[in-house]
Subunit: 300 residues, 2 copies
Amino acid sequence: MTATTTDFQAWSHQQLQRVEATLQRVLPAPDLAPRRLHQAMRYAVLEGGKRVRPLLAFAAGELADADPERVEIAGAAVELIHAYSLVHDDLPCMDDDVLRRGKPTCHVEYDEPTALLVGDALQSLAFQLVGEYRLADELKTQLEMVKLLAAAAGSRGMAGGQAIDLESVGKSLTVPELEFMHIHKTGALIRASALLGAHCGNGLGAREIGQLDHFAKLIGLAFQVVDDVLDSESSTATLGKTAGKDAKDGKPTYVSAIGVSRARELARELRQNALDALAGFGARALRLRQLADFIVLRKF
Amino acid sequence: MTATTTDFQAWSHQQLQRVEATLQRVLPAPDLAPRRLHQAMRYAVLEGGKRVRPLLAFAAGELADADPERVEIAGAAVELIHAYSLVHDDLPCMDDDVLRRGKPTCHVEYDEPTALLVGDALQSLAFQLVGEYRLADELKTQLEMVKLLAAAAGSRGMAGGQAIDLESVGKSLTVPELEFMHIHKTGALIRASALLGAHCGNGLGAREIGQLDHFAKLIGLAFQVVDDVLDSESSTATLGKTAGKDAKDGKPTYVSAIGVSRARELARELRQNALDALAGFGARALRLRQLADFIVLRKF
């Protein structure tokens, strides 16, 4: 373990604690009516998940010299959107999955209608946070954050990617087609995470925002390629979700499209291109670089 | 038919055309990818519905001297939230209904996973509108609108009301308990409609906003009481949704709690109290008064 790795571990540990504390605080209390819904919302969000999106918001926030008290709210909002999408994806009419983040999925632990409402209410809560807390120097920027998060979550972003995913079951996609799907399904929200983190600060011009966005796009794809590789090689216990499920469900993956070895190579290429996109930033982009490595080199 | 009624009909006809044109415009085009999702979103929103919430936004907008080009966006945002809630409510795991607004429900016309994503994406689109268009004189007010809409849609508003509804199946509720459910399930979004319409203008102080909110709360309850009466007395063809379904599903209604005759009386009382709340506004509140009558005296 190198000094830099240790340093990143300490940093990410600190940010993760911050994210957990923020999510704990912004989620409605478990004894607040309607209690079962609030308990299920907390179940779906707390204690679990790699929190890659909030970490990316924090790393981008450092690039833009942003107040961490703002970034923690922006990061929580993005994580709430992500958590809602997992709850809905796991429903019987979608992926029908029983295990998520090492626990029974929300509809298994509670019930299907509750899980549906949990997802719906988590999405609302995400926008409530962006409307309620002061997140940017300029209010105009903060409204831009509302729009950005909504577009990333919506039919031309994450939800649209899910729809493309549904249409792709049983088909064999080319790498450009897989890219198109993932740029929507996971990429849009990952890019939003970076941009929201940056908008909490005021250090970046339009060109730098464009470079950060490009970095996030590449790292989002790398994240998905690595996910596909891990899904094909790991056990359910290690992943905390059902391993090999995509392949079993007839969903196209990078591994099914180009094989494990080429997929690993692709992840390394994407990482290198992502790091190249940060070239102009210097030391301010340290956490973004480390996060890129963490995402590509992770084992779970 | 009195002169005033004709006048209201002409006014509401004009506003409804405006709402339809706005929804047509802000919904993603049917030939835009992912096409099936976008077609299903349009199916779920366009051509149908009484559009009570946008009408309320327009009436409150007139009270606050608001630009109709702003109010039409705010009204569309509220209607998108309402439409998403109907799509999710109709799903097999919730009310399992096959008819809505005189057409097959979204999951019947398309499929269940698509309907789930339609609801999710409509919610995102609502917030995208409030983030994207200039809706208020002060940006601070516009962020307040984001927060207000999100709170009205979320676990302490509409989604929470749905959860309370789920818990109430097979129970016999008292009138205060019914009120508590409906204040969340339908009331929160109806109040948000009025407040969003008013925030598009700049004519109202905090006290007047409070009076408008009180009016909307009462009229929201009246709307629900009338709904229960109509549901118990009308045919499926007249309603455009399955008649008598709540009673059949063991859901408590005002009719099951206090009978048809007392429910009609309650609706009249709520209307009178709602009109009283507008007493200080004078002629500016004409459309709100007419809308209260329309809601309570409607036959469908």
